[in-house]
Amino acid sequence: MSQELQEKAKELLEKGEVEQIIGYGPGTRPGTARPVFLTLPEESPCLIWTPACVHNLVVYLTRKETRGRGKVAITAKGCDVRALFVLIQEKQLRREDVYVIGLSCQGVLSKEALAGGRWELSEETMADKCKICQVRTPLEYDFLVGEKVEPRPAGVDPYAARIEELESRSSEERWEFWRRELSRCIKCYACRQACPLCYCRRCITEKSVPQWIDKSAHLRGNLAWNLIRAFHLAGRCVGCGECERACPVNIPLMLLNQKMSREVAAQFGYVAGMDYTVEPALASFDPQDRQDFIH
């Protein structure tokens, strides 16, 4: 598969179909992968596609370093393409601005597996998000690396169990749970910077007059940040899991984001990143929306 990918990349650059390619290359630690940026055909042999290619490269598409450098090609897994769909839906990109090298994907490694140096993909080493993946073949691509793969058959949903368990607790117990988890936050914003959908040129945390969200890494500031980010992603998050992977202090961000995306699905029948021709859920409404919670 790597060879197919490298040849295609070389061809795209040689023919001038794209000016830059964002893909995965080997990391400096054995077994790891990391984002690479190619502009010359002879650089294409460095491209790889392995279960260590966990990053969502779509995050680079909204950067100023990528824009204005000509057409870009990007290697993208199904989850990454979903993020791309949201960007298109939100008018941040046009579909024709990006050449999608789709990657057929059986799953990528979890954060724990990567940290522990376990490079073989298995049920045990697979990231949680992959266990519920419906887009093992990306929904759209200009070229597909590998054979088409069916969506994951229904099985254990690692988030459902944890969400349900939390919801079965009392609200005081839930508050204590989140107090504990969020007290570790150091406001490094790795979650925000790794997220392809956090593309605001000025984040709400950066507004200082007034300072809506305390910059301090105390519990009040941490709660405000994480709560607002979860809300700003509600109905937009595609579940790529990068936020949780990037977090240096292991905050279970996917729990929050998955809860919200499931709520939006349940209440409005909408799942982000599956179809970029429809209106996003929280940018639209239905006159018949529920209002049983309104007096």
Partner: protein, 349 residues
Amino acid sequence: MVKERILSRANRDRLLDRLREEGLRVFGPRLTDGLVLFLEIQSASELAPDYRNSTRSIKDFFLPPQEPLLRYGVRKEGVEVQPPAGEEAGTVLFGVRPCDAAYLPIIDRVFSGEEKDQLYLSRREKTLIIGLSCETPEDTCFCTSLGYSPGGSQGCDLLLTPLGEDRFFVEFISERGEQVAVRFPELWQDASASDRERRRGVEAEAKASIQRRVDMKGIKEWLDGHFDDPLWEEISRRCLGCAACYYLCPTCHCFDIVDEGDMWGGTRRRIWDSCSFGHFTQMPAHQPRETQARRYRQRIMHKFKYYVDRFGIFACVGCGRCLKACPVGIDLTEILGIIRDRLSAAERK
């Protein structure tokens, strides 16, 4: 002449108990939520097994992520300002790796140099650092390249080196360390010549096992002359602009001062800040570090040039946390290696 003794494992446990009995708060590396953090321990049994290094550095104890500087309240009589409540108890940090301990003499240059940071100093004075030599450095460690050692004692009050499963070679480095020796005379045994040799052997083996090496010769001079090199764009292209590496790094120390409150009362705090953030150098009319490349350049320049210009030492201990934390695999040693290669190529010409 540094005093040397032997500490049995049982006595190490007792030492921690004794220190706590004196009213000190003892912190040691504990496993929690998939991380190793310096948390308060009630006994040695809480220490993380297979401890390599903590996820967060001991910087947290000297420059916490946020700390109140003063509180203000508006009363009918006028504005009242209160200093923050001081910490009463002294602190013991047990199991600090030599790289982490070595950060303290580096950062003293800023916080205890021409200007004395009272908050930092009061913590420094009240904290006992019990170092623990490394036996198995990680693949991300590179302390030796910066002139440090897995068995080094800079910044430590005491340094423990494991000699097998149940004994430690103890060195009392500082005056505070020596006081510990005096306060608990029953805990120590004499160290023999073979103990001494074994201690050196542990250090030598650990040093030899460090794979990651950078030749730092000439790096600073290259930086002196290459502020505008295209290298900065190349190496920073993948940088996301988060502060993970900055905040976990012991020697990174940028901070901001914020006021949180309203017309009637509030708190002024010192909080961590990072030059990786887009708004770090934002001014009303000008933003000198518009691109991530310029911001990343600042990181390298500060640690390996500006700090040397100012204080004569690198602001890096080679702990490798930046390598581990970076979500996109940026490798500081790779960057230094690239600079090294360029130097070598230039030398060959």
